[in-house]
C-alpha cells in the first residue's frame, strides 16, 4: 500500500462509522427484497462490530503514522492541521460507543417489533449517534468536538421520538430538543469567549496559549470555561442541569434510555477530559472548585431524588445523576493532579459505568416486560442473576466493575486534596444502597406474581445481557489466575486507561 495512504489507516474506525451511517440512509428506502428489517439490523451490527474490532486492533497494534507518546505505550496521530486526532483515548471511546450500540441493538429491535416504528430509521440514527461519538473521540479542536456532540444529540432526539405510539415520547423529545438547543447555545457561547481570549480553538494551541495568557484575558477564558462547563453539564446530566433526564429517560424506550445514560454520557465526559485536562491545563487548577461543586450537587440532589422514585426507571435516571457526580469527582481530581492517576481512574470508571448501566437497563427492560421484578430469581434465574450483578456493581460491591471504578476515583480524590469530596462520595454511595437494595430484595425474594408466564426474550437480548454483566464481573475480579486460567480484562482496561491519561497530559 502507498505509505502516504497508509498514514490515514488510524482513521479507519471513524471513517467506517461515518460511511456506514451514510450507507444506512441509502439502504433504508432501497432495500425492498427479503426482510428489510433484518438487512438493516445486519448492516448496523456489522458496522459497529467492525468499528469495535478495528479500534481494538489498532490499540493493540498501532500502525504507521501513530507516534508514541511517553513511555506507557500510548500513541497519537494528527490530521487536518490538528483538527482530528487519533490516539489511545479516541480509540477507547470508539470501542466503547460501538460496543454500547451493539449491546443495545437487540433490545431496540425488540422494542421496534412491539412498538410501531420503523427498523430502518432506527438503525440509521443509531449509527449516526455512534459516528458522532467517534467524531468527539477524535476531536483535536473544540469545534470538532462540538460538531460531534451535536451529531450525537440530533440522532438521539430522533431516536427518542421514533416510537410515536408511545405516550410521553413526544413530550420527551420536545423537552430534550428545547433544552438541548439551550445547552448547545451556552456551549457555543463559551467557545466564542475562549476563541476571543486565545485566538484559537485547537486544543493543542489552547494548551500553549493558556500558559502565556496576558492577565487581562484570564477572566475571558474563565468566562468561556464556565459556559462550556455548563453546556457539558447538561450533556452529562449533572445537577442542576439534570432535570431533563428523568422525563426524557422515562419517555424513551428502555434500551434507548440505556444508550443515552451510557454512550452519550461517556462521550460528553471524554470531551470534557480533552477540553479541561488537555486543552486548558495551562490555566491551572482554577476550574477544580467548579467541577467539585457540580459533583457535590449531583450526588446530593441525585440521591435525594432517587430515594423517592417508585418507578425503577425513574430511580435509575436519578441514580445516573449520582454516578455523574462520581465521574465529576474524578474529573475534578484530574484537575488537581499532575500525574496520570486521576485520568486513569476516571477512564476506568467510565468503562465500568458503561458496562454496568447497559446491563442494568437491559435487564430492567426485559424484566418489566416479563412480570416485573418480584421473585424474578425463581422465574428466570439467568436474567435475574445478570440484574443482581448489575445492581451490585451500581452499589459498588467488591468484585464488580463498579467497586473498582469507585475505589479508584475516591482514592484519587483523597490524593488530590479533595478529601471532603471523597467523604461526600463515600457517604453518597452508602446512601445509594437505600434505593438499590430494595430492588435486590425484590428480585431475590419478592413474592411471585400469580401467573408466572415463561419469559419472552430474544436470543440477541440474552447474549447482550450475558456479555455486559459478564464483563462487569471480569473487570471487577481483575486478573484472577485460577489453575492457570487467566482473565486479564481488568489489566487491559487499566492499561488502556493509563495510556488515555498519557496522551492528554503535556
Amino acid at each position: 500500500m502507498n505509505t502516504q495512504l497508509a498514514t490515514y489507516l488510524p482513521l479507519a474506525p471513524l471513517a467506517l462509522l461515518v460511511l456506514g451511517a451514510l450507507l444506512a440512509l441509502l439502504l433504508v428506502p432501497s432495500v425492498r427484497h427479503g426482510d428489510p428489517d433484518r438487512t438493516m439490523a445486519w448492516h448496523a451490527g456489522m458496522v459497529n462490530l467492525s468499528a469495535l474490532v478495528l479500534s481494538v486492533t489498532l490499540w493493540v497494534r498501532p500502525v504507521i503514522g501513530m507516534e508514541p507518546v511517553g513511555a506507557t505505550g500510548a500513541f497519537r496521530a494528527t490530521y487536518m492541521g490538528g483538527a482530528l486526532v487519533v490516539d489511545s483515548l479516541s480509540l477507547l471511546l470508539v470501542a466503547l460507543a460501538s460496543a454500547g450500540a451493539l449491546l443495545v441493538l437487540p433490545g431496540l429491535m425488540a422494542a421496534a417489533d412491539r412498538g410501531s416504528f420503523a427498523h430502518g430509521e432506527l438503525h440509521a440514527l443509531l449509527l449516526f449517534a455512534v459516528a458522532g461519538s467517534g467524531v468527539v473521540a477524535s476531536a483535536g479542536d473544540v469545534f470538532t468536538g462540538f460538531l460531534g456532540l451535536e451529531i450525537v444529540a440530533l440522532s438521539v432526539y430522533g431516536l427518542v421520538g421514533l416510537d410515536r405510539s408511545r405516550p410521553g415520547a413526544h413530550e420527551a423529545v420536545l423537552k430534550y430538543l428545547l433544552l438541548g438547543a439551550f445547552a448547545s447555545a451556552i456551549l457555543l457561547l463559551g467557545m466564542a469567549f475562549l476563541f476571543g481570549a486565545t485566538g484559537s480553538l485547537s486544543l493543542g494551541r489552547l494548551q500553549a496559549a493558556a500558559v502565556h495568557l496576558p492577565p487581562a484575558r484570564h477572566g475571558l477564558v474563565m468566562l468561556g470555561l464556565a459556559a462550556m462547563v455548563a453546556g457539558l453539564a447538561f450533556k452529562v446530566a449533572a445537577a442542576p442541569f439534570h432535570m431533563w433526564s428523568a422525563d426524557v429517560y422515562e419517555g424513551a424506550v428502555t434500551p434507548l434510555t440505556g444508550f443515552m445514560a451510557t454512550v452519550v454520557k461517556v462521550t460528553a465526559f471524554v470531551f470534557g477530559l480533552r477540553l479541561l485536562v488537555a486543552g486548558l491545563a495551562g490555566v491551572g487548577t482554577d476550574w477544580q472548585p467548579l467541577l467539585a461543586a457540580l459533583a457535590a450537587a449531583s450526588m446530593v440532589v441525585g440521591n435525594l431524588m432517587a430515594m423517592n422514585q417508585r418507578k425503577p426507571k425513574r430511580m435509575m435516571a436519578f441514580s445516573s445523576v449520582v454516578h455523574t457526580g462520581y465521574m465529576l469527582v474524578g474529573l475534578a481530581a484530574a484537575a488537581g493532579s499532575t500525574g496520570t492517576d486521576a485520568v486513569q481512574a476516571l477512564v476506568v470508571y467510565l468503562v465500568a459505568y458503561l458496562l454496568t448501566n447497559l446491563a442494568a437497563f437491559g435487564c430492567l427492560d426485559v424484566l418489566e416486560r416479563n412480570g416485573g421484578l418480584d421473585g424474578a430469581m425463581q422465574r428466570n434465574p439467568g436474567l435475574a442473576t445478570a440484574f443482581v450483578v448489575a445492581l451490585l456493581s451500581l452499589v459498588g460491591f467488591p468484585m464488580t466493575a463498579g467497586f473498582l471504578g469507585k475505589y479508584m476515583v475516591f482514592s484519587v480524590a483523597f490524593g488530590a486534596g479533595l478529601g471532603w469530596l471523597g467523604v461526600l462520595a463515600i457517604l453518597s454511595s452508602m446512601v445509594s444502597l437505600a434505593y438499590y437494595m430494595p430492588l435486590l430484595f425484590r428480585v431475590l425474594s419478592g413474592a411471585l406474581p400469580s401467573p408466572a408466564a415463561p419469559p419472552s426474550l430474544a436470543t440477541g437480548e440474552r447474549v447482550a445481557l450475558a456479555v455486559s454483566s459478564g464483563l462487569v464481573l471480569v473487570l471487577g475480579a481483575g486478573i484472577l489466575a485460577v489453575a492457570g486460567w487467566m482473565v486479564p480484562g481488568a489489566h487491559w482496561v487499566a492499561q488502556w486507561a493509563l495510556q488515555s491519561g498519557a496522551v492528554l497530559l503535556p
Binding site: 420536545l174 423537552k175 428545547l178 433544552l179 439551550f182 445547552a183 492577565p215 484570564h218 477572566g219 474563565m222 468566562l223 470555561l225 464556565a226 459556559a227 455548563a230 453539564a233 447538561f234 442542576p240 442541569f241 432535570m243 431533563w244 428523568a246 482554577d286 472548585p289 467548579l290 440532589v301 435525594l304 431524588m305 430515594m307 423517592n308 492517576d341 476506568v348 430469581m377 425463581q378 460491591f397 467488591p398 473498582l404 475505589y407 479508584m408 482514592s411 484519587v412 483523597f414 490524593g415 463515600i426 452508602m430 446512601v431 437505600a434 437494595m437 430484595f441 425474594s445 419478592g446 413474592a447 481483575g478 486478573i479 484472577l480 489466575a481 481488568a490 489489566h491 487499566a494 493509563l498
Partner: protein, 655 residues
C-alpha cells in the same frame, strides 16, 4: 495434603456448597412444598447434605492445618494462597492473597467448627420451609465471605468479606420477607452498618494516603504493620479510631449496637451463627489483626477499652430486663463483645481473642438451645409463657443451663477462664475503672443468665397448654447442642490459669502474632491474680444465686423483681432509650430527609424558576412543584446554574 491446598479447601469448600445449593434453590422453586409438618423433600435432603458437607470439609481442613502447624516451629506457622492480582492501577495494587497464621486460624476454626454445627442444626430447624435450599445457599455463602474476611491479607480483600457477610446477613435476617417487622429489622441493621462502613472506608483511605509519602501506599496488612511506626501518632490515632468505627458497627458497640437486638427477628440458627459466633466478632478480629497500628496509637486503644466497658455494662443491664428469650441473649452478646473490646483496650489482645473463641461456643450453644426451646413451644419466644420445661427437655434443658453457666462465668467452664483473663488483664494494665465495670458486668451477667434459666426451665409452667405439648427436637438439632456443650465446657482447658495448675496454651499459640505488641507482663503477680479470681467468682456466684432464686419461685414474674424498681426497670428495658434517641438523631433523619428533601428541593428549584418567569403571583401556589415537568422551569434552573457558574468564574478568575 500441602498446607496451601488445605487453605484452598477451607476457602472453596463452602463456596462450592453455596454454588451447588444455589442451583438446587433455583430448581426446587418448581417443586411443590409439603403442606404440613417438618418434612424434607428429596431435593431438600440433597441440599442439606451439600450445605453441611461444605463447612464440614472446611472444618476438617482447618483442624488438619492446625495440627500441621503444631508440628512446626512457631515461626513457620504461616500459609499463604496467592491467586494473582485483583487490580493494579496507579498506586493502588491489590492482590488475592489469603493467609493463615495462628490468629487467622483461630477465627477459621471458630467459623468452620461452630459453623458446621449450626448448619446441621438449621437442617432440623428449617425443615419444611419452602425456601430451604435458598436458606442454605445464603448460609454457605455467608461462611465463605466470613472465611475471606479472616484470611485476607489485604484490607481491600478484607473489605470484600466484610461487605459479603453484611449482604448475606441482611438476606438472612429478612428471610421471610413478607413480614414487615423482619424487613424493618433488616433495614435498620443496614443503615447502622453503613455508618460503620463509612468509618472503615475512611480509615482505609487515610492509611493508604498517609503511607504514600514513604512509598508504602498499600493496604497490605503485613506491609502496613511493618511500617506503621513511621506514621505520626495523631495520624495513626485518627486512622485507628476510624477503623474502629467500622468495628463498632459490625460488632454492635454503643451507640451503634441498636441493630443487633432487632436482628433477632431472623431465624434462630442465623442469630447463633451470625449474631453470636462469627460476623459480630469481625470487628474484634479486625482490631486484633491491626494490633501494630493500635499499639502505635495508645489513645485509640484507650477509647476502644472505654467504649467496650460502657457497652458491656449498659447491655448487661438491659439484658436483665428483657422478656423475650432471644433478646436476652442478643443483649448478652452485645455485652460480651464489649468485654472483648475492653480486653483489647487493655492491650491483652490474646485474652480478647480467647474470649471471642470461648464465647463462640457458649453463645452459639445458648442461642441454639433457646432455639430448641422455641421449637418445642411451637414458636413461642416470650418468657411470660415459659417455665417448667426442665422435665420435658432432657437434652435441651441441661445444654441451656451449661450455656447460661458458661455465659455467667462460673468455674470451671470456658466462660470463667476467658472472662477472668480479661478482668485480670485490665487490673494489671492499671485500668481499675474498667476492672470495676467488668466485675459489675460479670455479676449482672450471672444474674440475667440464671434469671433466664429460672424463667424458662424452673417452677411450674406459666402456660400449661404449651408446656403440655412441648417436645424435644430431632437428632439434627440435639447433636449440635451436645457437641457445642462439650466445647463450652472444655475450651477453658486451653488457657487454664497457672495459679490453678494449668498451662496457657492459647496465648502461647498466639504469641508469634502478638509478640511485638503489649501482651507482656499481664500476669504480674500470682497472689494478686488469685485474689482477683476469687473475688470475681464470688461476685458471679452471688449474681447467679440471686438471679435464680428471685425467678424460680412460684408465680415469679418477668418484670421488676422489686416493686420499687419498676420505673427504672421500664427505662432499662427500652435499652436506656438509646434506640429512640438514635432513631430520632440518625435513622429518622436519613429516611425523613429523603422524603422531605425531595419535594423541598423541587420546591426550591421550581420556586426559583417561577420567580424568574412569573414573579410573585405564582408563589402562592408554588407548593409541591415537583420536578414540574415544564421545560421552561427546567431551562430556568439551568440558567440559574449557568449564572452561578459564570458568577463564580468572574469573581474568582478575573484577577
Amino acid at each position: 495434603m500441602s498446607h496451601v491446598a488445605l487453605l484452598a479447601w477451607i476457602l472453596f469448600a463452602p463456596l462450592a456448597a453455596a454454588a451447588l445449593n444455589g442451583l438446587l434453590a433455583l430448581r426446587s422453586a418448581r417443586v411443590p412444598v409439603p403442606v404440613e409438618g417438618h418434612h424434607l423433600r428429596p431435593m431438600d435432603r440433597l441440599a442439606a447434605g451439600i450445605g453441611v458437607a461444605g463447612p464440614l470439609a472446611a472444618a476438617v481442613a482447618a483442624w488438619s492445618l492446625g495440627f500441621a502447624f503444631l508440628a512446626r516451629d512457631r515461626s513457620l506457622r504461616l500459609t499463604e494462597l496467592d491467586l494473582g492480582t485483583w487490580f493494579s492501577m496507579g498506586q493502588a495494587h491489590v492482590t488475592w492473597l489469603f493467609r493463615v497464621d495462628p490468629l487467622s486460624l483461630v477465627m477459621v476454626l471458630v467459623v468452620t467448627t461452630v459453623g458446621t454445627l449450626i448448619h446441621l442444626y438449621s437442617v432440623g430447624y428449617m425443615a419444611g420451609d419452602a425456601g430451604f435450599p435458598r436458606f442454605l445457599t445464603w448460609l454457605n455463602l455467608f461462611t465463605f465471605a466470613m472465611l475471606v474476611l479472616v484470611t485476607a491479607r489485604d484490607l481491600v480483600v478484607l473489605f470484600l468479606g466484610w461487605e459479603g457477610v453484611g449482604v448475606c446477613s441482611y438476606l438472612l435476617i429478612g428471610y421471610w420477607f413478607s413480614d414487615a417487622a423482619k424487613a424493618a429489622a433488616g433495614l435498620k441493621a443496614f443503615v447502622v452498618n453503613r455508618i460503620g462502613d463509612l468509618g472503615l472506608l475512611l480509615g482505609m483511605f487515610l492509611l493508604f494516603w498517609s503511607m504514600a509519602p514513604g512509598g508504602q501506599a498499600s493496604l497490605d496488612i503485613d506491609l502496613l504493620s511493618a511500617h506503621v511506626t513511621k506514621l505520626s501518632v495523631p495520624l495513626a490515632t485518627a486512622a485507628a479510631v476510624l477503623l474502629f468505627v467500622g468495628a463498632m458497627g459490625k460488632s454492635a458497640q454503643v451507640p451503634l449496637h441498636i441493630w443487633l437486638p432487632d436482628a433477632m427477628a431472623g431465624p434462630t440458627p442465623v442469630s447463633a451463627l451470625i449474631h453470636a459466633a462469627t460476623m459480630v466478632t469481625a470487628g474484634v478480629y479486625m482490631v486484633a489483626r491491626m494490633h501494630p497500628l493500635y499499639h502505635h496509637a495508645p489513645a485509640a486503644l484507650a477509647f476502644i477499652g472505654s467504649l467496650g466497658a460502657l457497652t458491656a455494662l449498659v447491655a448487661a443491664t438491659v439484658a436483665c430486663t428483657q422478656t423475650n428469650i432471644k433478646r436476652v441473649i442478643a443483649w448478652s452478646t452485645v455485652s460480651q463483645l464489649g468485654y472483648m473490646f475492653m480486653g483489647l483496650g487493655a492491650g491483652a489482645f490474646s485474652a480478647g481473642i480467647y474470649h471471642l473463641f470461648t464465647h463462640a461456643f457458649f453463645k452459639a450453644l445458648f442461642f441454639l438451645s433457646a432455639g430448641a426451646v422455641i421449637h418445642a413451644l411451637h414458636g413461642e419466644e416470650e418468657l411470660g409463657r415459659m417455665g417448667g420445661l426442665w422435665s420435658k427437655l432432657r437434652v435441651t434443658g441441661p445444654a441451656f443451663v451449661l450455656a447460661a453457666a458458661a455465659n455467667a462465668g462460673l468455674p470451671p467452664l470456658s466462660g470463667f477462664v476467658s472472662k477472668d483473663a480479661i478482668l485480670v488483664a485490665t487490673w494489671n494494665a492499671h485500668h481499675p475503672v474498667w476492672f470495676a465495670v467488668g466485675l459489675l458486668t460479670a455479676g449482672l451477667t450471672a444474674f440475667y443468665s440464671f434469671r433466664l434459666v429460672a424463667l424458662v426451665l424452673a417452677g411450674p409452667p406459666r402456660d400449661a397448654h404449651l408446656a403440655e405439648h412441648a417436645h424435644e427436637a430431632g437428632w439434627a438439632m440435639t447433636l449440635p447442642l451436645v457437641l457445642l456443650a462439650v466445647g463450652a465446657v472444655g475450651a477453658g482447658v486451653l488457657e487454664w490459669p497457672h495459679e490453678l495448675g494449668g498451662t496457657l496454651w492459647f496465648s502461647a499459640w498466639l504469641e508469634p502474632v502478638f509478640y511485638p505488641s503489649l501482651d507482656h507482663g499481664v500476669h504480674a503477680n500470682a497472689v494478686v491474680d488469685i485474689i482477683l479470681t476469687v473475688g470475681s467468682v464470688a461476685v458471679v456466684a452471688t449474681g447467679a444465686a440471686i438471679g435464680f432464686s428471685l425467678h424460680a419461685r412460684d408465680g415469679a414474674s418477668t418484670g421488676a423483681p422489686l416493686t420499687g424498681l419498676q420505673g427504672l426497670w421500664a427505662t432499662v428495658k427500652r435499652g436506656w432509650h438509646v434506640d429512640e434517641v438514635l432513631e430520632r438523631v440518625v435513622v429518622r433523619p436519613v429516611v425523613f430527609s429523603s422524603r422531605a428533601a425531595a419535594p423541598f428541593l423541587d420546591f426550591l428549584l421550581g420556586w426559583g424558576a417561577r420567580g424568574f418567569v412569573q414573579g410573585l403571583a405564582l408563589a402562592g401556589r408554588g407548593l409541591a412543584v415537583a420536578q414540574s415537568g415544564l421545560a421552561r422551569h427546567y431551562a430556568m434552573v439551568m440558567l440559574g446554574g449557568l449564572v452561578a457558574l459564570v458568577a463564580w468564574a468572574v469573581l474568582s478568575g478575573g484577577r
